[in-house]
Subunit: 400 residues, 3 copies
Amino acid sequence: MSKKSNVKQFTDVLEKLDFSKMYEGDFFLTWEKSQDEIEAVFTVADALRHLRENNVSTKIFDSGLGISLFRDNSTRTRFSFASACNLLGLEVQDLDEGKSQIAHGETVRETANMISFMADAIGIRDDMYIGKGNAYMHQVVDAVTAGHRDGVLEQKPTLVNLQCDIDHPTQCMADTLHIIHEFGGIENLKGKKVAMTWAYSPSYGKPLSVPQGVIGLMTRFGMDVTLAYPEGYEVMDEVVEVAKKNAETYGGKFEITNSMADAFKDADIVYPKSWAPFKAMEERTELYGNGDMEGIKALEKRLLAQNAEHKDWTCTEELMKTTKDGKALYLHCLPADITGVSCEAGEVEASVFDRYRDPLYKEASFKPYIIAAMIFLAKVKDPVAMLKKLEKNAKERRAE
Amino acid sequence: MSKKSNVKQFTDVLEKLDFSKMYEGDFFLTWEKSQDEIEAVFTVADALRHLRENNVSTKIFDSGLGISLFRDNSTRTRFSFASACNLLGLEVQDLDEGKSQIAHGETVRETANMISFMADAIGIRDDMYIGKGNAYMHQVVDAVTAGHRDGVLEQKPTLVNLQCDIDHPTQCMADTLHIIHEFGGIENLKGKKVAMTWAYSPSYGKPLSVPQGVIGLMTRFGMDVTLAYPEGYEVMDEVVEVAKKNAETYGGKFEITNSMADAFKDADIVYPKSWAPFKAMEERTELYGNGDMEGIKALEKRLLAQNAEHKDWTCTEELMKTTKDGKALYLHCLPADITGVSCEAGEVEASVFDRYRDPLYKEASFKPYIIAAMIFLAKVKDPVAMLKKLEKNAKERRAE
Amino acid sequence: MSKKSNVKQFTDVLEKLDFSKMYEGDFFLTWEKSQDEIEAVFTVADALRHLRENNVSTKIFDSGLGISLFRDNSTRTRFSFASACNLLGLEVQDLDEGKSQIAHGETVRETANMISFMADAIGIRDDMYIGKGNAYMHQVVDAVTAGHRDGVLEQKPTLVNLQCDIDHPTQCMADTLHIIHEFGGIENLKGKKVAMTWAYSPSYGKPLSVPQGVIGLMTRFGMDVTLAYPEGYEVMDEVVEVAKKNAETYGGKFEITNSMADAFKDADIVYPKSWAPFKAMEERTELYGNGDMEGIKALEKRLLAQNAEHKDWTCTEELMKTTKDGKALYLHCLPADITGVSCEAGEVEASVFDRYRDPLYKEASFKPYIIAAMIFLAKVKDPVAMLKKLEKNAKERRAE
């Protein structure tokens, strides 16, 4: 490539931010991070991408492992994490619970140490059961922190939350970085209206982490965030509180409505996506805990019936016309339930989805860089100096 | 190692060839490539092997992923692709459809982009259904080409066809490179007689890609290629046309016979291997399409019975004696059905197979280098300069 | 890190040892290695760890594969092998037999070659059937040795026995290196009493390789090794003979007792762990060979009943008090069956296990380095020079 990199545009921003506490830290929930820390992640993600686009290697590890631990299958998350690790020089090892001895009753503490002797990063996705996923991540971090303190581990691997029962930070930060790029800068988000709305899906039990993550994060930039859902599809109270407080603190708005039309009206950004009611997910978690399979089946049936009452909650061309200049930016974490394509009736009309296909793919493309930035900030003592050093060394990623 | 590398022997050949169109390209079918391009793959494969044998690193990637996507299990293909990627510096990530969301009805286009953000190569094996495998590979390439054009992907990964319904280019090029080495040069292939013949196997539905790939490729070097099979075991018409045209263009011969003995008579090279009739595979594809499991079972029964009528189609010592000086080079893509070893009656007598064990393993050993050469030629703008640079840098593969 | 490495402390030791025969060799059983060779593995393991702790890269491979082949699932062993390979620069490829064509009746010889074209190391765990695991490893080594000799493979991968039916060398050497560190040097092991004792477990058919490996290895250092088990839980005769001979040769003691109390009395080190009777494992192997599933079930039932007669064989606080100063070092290969934690009644009381948690995790932390040392000694012609070179080059493992 003939392009020349210019990492200064990013290090200049970083030099004004305080993110010193991220060193040797972990990433659980966006609202546990300061504004400077959130902006540091965006900036490092952009810097890593910029270097890669200019064929500059960003490998900061000569060897080392990145451990992925997923409770369910996930092509995209797996590839995002693997891409991020590879970009930094870590080799991915999957801890598939089906394959592992965790299933045999081992303690989390022991396994966490046993897999971490040479691990610099651990990515966990555990979004299935309310009250479990985030708690599990903390158990893992506590275990490896103690292991490092007690001389068992030569390094403490950094935890990246790849989706829990509460938040989906890598997704929502990728979504937001996409918006930042589309609107030409984080400073341009102020006053923009975001509609995070429920949408109909023929499937059952979709996680709450995306809507929760979105209202917990996007309320931080002075935006006007509306959460819309049919009555009964409430999300976690504590995240609603976070969103309210953010709106106050950062000079934005946060509203809840039961009308998709109200949410879409004049919106700059729309994010129509299905999820399950929080109360139902709590109930499911308890039923699974009791091994009550009959109860699970009954719940599933009830939830599908409940969903079916709201087939009109779908992102149509008509609704899109009511958004700002009829041109709101359509977001989705993918894969979407597309009416007439992946299902009979779903979250979005095919023509809307088709028109936004490129932006949607770009939105997804930020995720590996967000993950890499989280690891970078936890593992590099002086990120500004390191970015400059990488640019100066200018090791080619692909030999030319 | 005390040996000194001499990559000039390969770059001298490459300098006379025009393979400029391979840059940023893909590898679907051998007959879509020019003679110079085919020879460039052989030459780069030999050059990479020569460098590795002399302990010179051929890593052209500092980071990056090689994605493997197999519709069925395959130890050898998986290891060949992994070896090729590792040799060039790419880390392999398997996209196991069992694990992935492809199975959940996602579009090929979306998944292809989602896994390719940091992918430099994609290897696909999809040989099960007629009319599907090669078409699927084109869908993937179209998707990532559009993704790269539209700014979603920073690079377009190169596609390597690891076996489709039509051709098996990495296998047949490894077979041919083996022949080239055994006969002391590509120029010595002229006039050699190749017998690509059907052979009995107790199993059902073996793919057609090997015989098709062989007649589509080996007819290019002035060889006298005979395709032999019992009536009813016809291969795809369009590949037969390719073979005929090749023979005309390159001054060789292509014949079809229903006699194994005729094919073996005076052959320099024999390739006895089972396959299923093309028409039957078409029928099977349709039955699967209709979910007609009863039909599948009936077809399988019919095909096994049909196979059993031709148990005399087996590579015996007696037949081998009728080949050129009784010493034809015996080829197989492995694993073979060996009479009295892996089955009661199969493709080849144990004593014949045993005598050719070493050459067969060598034949297989070319495949990782063929795959690596295909990736190298698609990813390196000036392969001649790069080979010289690798030799000059002389980075050790294994520290000494 | 501000610490400075000093690899001379290790190379000084290595310079006095003769381990020249390990080059291009394999690691099957500890008692097939000389005293110098065993000490070389400990020393190189310590040296590699020392370099890593001082952030010095120990990558001796620029590319190359490490193949793992497990007959059963194993998180810890898989991660240990992956960590060791990664530390040296090899990329791990798992040969999962479920995925591979081995299951389809291929010969070991063929598969071993097909996966080894670019393999520098092969780690095998095959501990299930008596008379099979170690034999299988030899078949693989014979195959790749022939493949290398005959020009099929450019290098002979080195075999690391990750657990067989006879020995568990990487585990027992990690255990011993842990003891060496705890007691301040290999010279301090002389006269120390080791109690390798059977302990009750509610599960069935635990492998014999750990007790066998321990008595086969720990009798080499002038230690006083006692093997204790209830009548009927005998281990392999040939390993008992090894232990006896070692005790004679190296000036230690080896005794067998049927009393756990006798073994624990005044012990410096205790290793209470369940295993199945050797005779029963022989019987099971035969039953599996005959496909006698009814017989297997009956055997399992009988063995569980037999185990249950010995619930008093458990490592209690009371027993621990009878050890040297009440402070014997408690060892376990993990995971342990902990009474009241992972089972109702098991190998060890929870309070004992808890007190030794950190040392147990440290014990496990040596395994990746032991494996890496075995590969290093087989792949590096002059290990002393290489360690010095790595220190001198001082390539950072993690960029600072």
